[in-house]
């Protein structure tokens, strides 16, 4: 397996690794994938009063392409509004990272993780969600 320079860069220097307080009402948490499939992504967003994603963090169990896809996803959602973030497509990630066909599922997972985090945040805005209501 050869990796593109961008995948290597994200793998070596992942952006926004870490965790946000998932009990915070302004934080949305998405956890997607499954250990037995070889990749699990946790992506978190913190949304301010104006509906702008002001912070994003991730942790990923998975191959280098999965790590790079989620790292890139956090970079892209930061500064975007919630609605803008929903327009990010896995194909954009594939293109940006030059992922080969066998790694497309990594980009799909990253898109899913963004959506899961946004959905979690939205559900918290409707009614105060019970703590630990992360989307699995």
């Amino acid at each position: 397996m050869t990796y593109s320079d961008k995948v290597l860069d994200h793998y070596e220097h992942p952006r926004n690794v870490g965790s946000l307080d998932k009990a915070d009402p302004s934080v949305g948490t998405g956890i997607v994938g499954a250990p037995e499939c070889g990749d699990v992504m946790k992506l978190q967003i913190k949304v301010n009063d104006r509906g702008v994603i002001e912070d994003a963090k991730f942790k990923t169990f998975g191959c280098g392409s999965a790590i790079a896809s989620s790292s890139l996803a956090t970079e892209w959602v930061k500064g975007k509004t919630v609605d803008e973030a929903l327009t990010i497509r896995n194909t954009d990630i594939v293109q940006e990272l030059s992922l080969p066909p066998v790694k497309i599922h990594c980009s799909v997972l990253a898109e899913d993780a963004i959506r899961a985090a946004l959905n979690d945040w939205k559900s918290k805005q409707g009614a105060p969600a019970p703590s630990g209501a992360e989307k699995a």
């Binding site: 994938g33 250990p35 037995e36 499939c37 070889g38 991730f58 191959c63």
Partner: protein
Amino acid sequence: MASGSDRLVYLDNNATTRMDPRVLEAMLPWFCEKYGNAASRSHKYGWDAEEAVERAREQVAQLIGASAKEIVFTSGATESDNLAIKGTLEMLADKGRHVITCTTEHKAIIDSCKYLESKGAAEVTWLEPDKRGRVSRAQVEAALRPGTVLITLMAANNEIGTLHPIAEIGALAKEKGVWFHTDATQAVAKVPFDVEALKVDLASLSAHKIYGPKGVGALYVRRRNPRVRLAPQMHGGGHERGMRSGTLNVPGIVGLGEACRIAREDFDKDQAHYRRLRDLLEQKIRSRLGHVELNGDPEHRLPTTLNLSFAYVEGESLIMGVPDVAVSSGSACTSASLEPSYVLRALGVGDELAHSSIRFSVGRFTTDQDVEQAAEEIIKTVNRLRAMSPLYEMVQEGVDLSSVKWGASH
């Protein structure tokens, strides 16, 4: 990349080995100076080549306790496996077509058996090993039935190094009058392997796994008690007692012979070296990392092989983090397929841990420095990846991962 060192460490000796310089030296004259065809009976070029081939045949035979006439040269272990299985089933078609093998065999065995199954030429019993990768004599005995013509079980597994109880199964096969083939590719030169002691009738081996050249191997074919005859799978000039036609690869065969001679001569030294370095590697890693599982059998195992699962870290990402260390992964993503290792699956290792597995295999040329560097880089990378692993975080928080309802698979 992750480490600053340019020094490469090779810990993938179960995949292939560096050729021993003594082997290269033995081979060299047989390319440009003594280039005769071993089947040429009318001149010195041919006689010399034939003599070299017969010397190599003797060297191979001596390493495994056989007689020279029982050695058939092939292009490698895959061909030897194919010839043993297909040649037996074809030769004994009148007696039956039942084969007993195991789910953790090398693909050369599995796919040969499946091919014969698909042609209606074999019925195959696939034994399932225990969680350490072993099958027992009792399992084989229970699978025997009228019409069983062949038992084929590898002596040592390439991924996990587990050794089957070959001597016990050999004795059983002898009692029952069933031919017994073993793929000994990983076992020869690494653990004691004697065809008489083990009572095997057919054994495959390969030069490049034992510091010889690629593209040459051998099949041991018993000549007495019982006299094993195989239907050839390669037709032509009737070389190798008619079992394998084709002009002999003289330089390769000379290399295989020399590799076997050295393996026999250095056997004790090599063994001690493998074991010491393998154990050193395991100890170094375990002393500084938790959540590390051994795959395979701690006791009945090749001295060269260490297969570990680093929980909460995916194998491909781990390999990516140690570009200066050549190892292989049982994880999905390293190969074209997206499935984790079928060997680890057969052991009942969860897919999660199978995705986290790394195989280290030391060799004759591995040094203490290699082991130390590899351990350092692995430890550093595992720690780095665990720090960004959501699974590790959850476990630290006291979450039982098996209780989590995970999302749809991809």
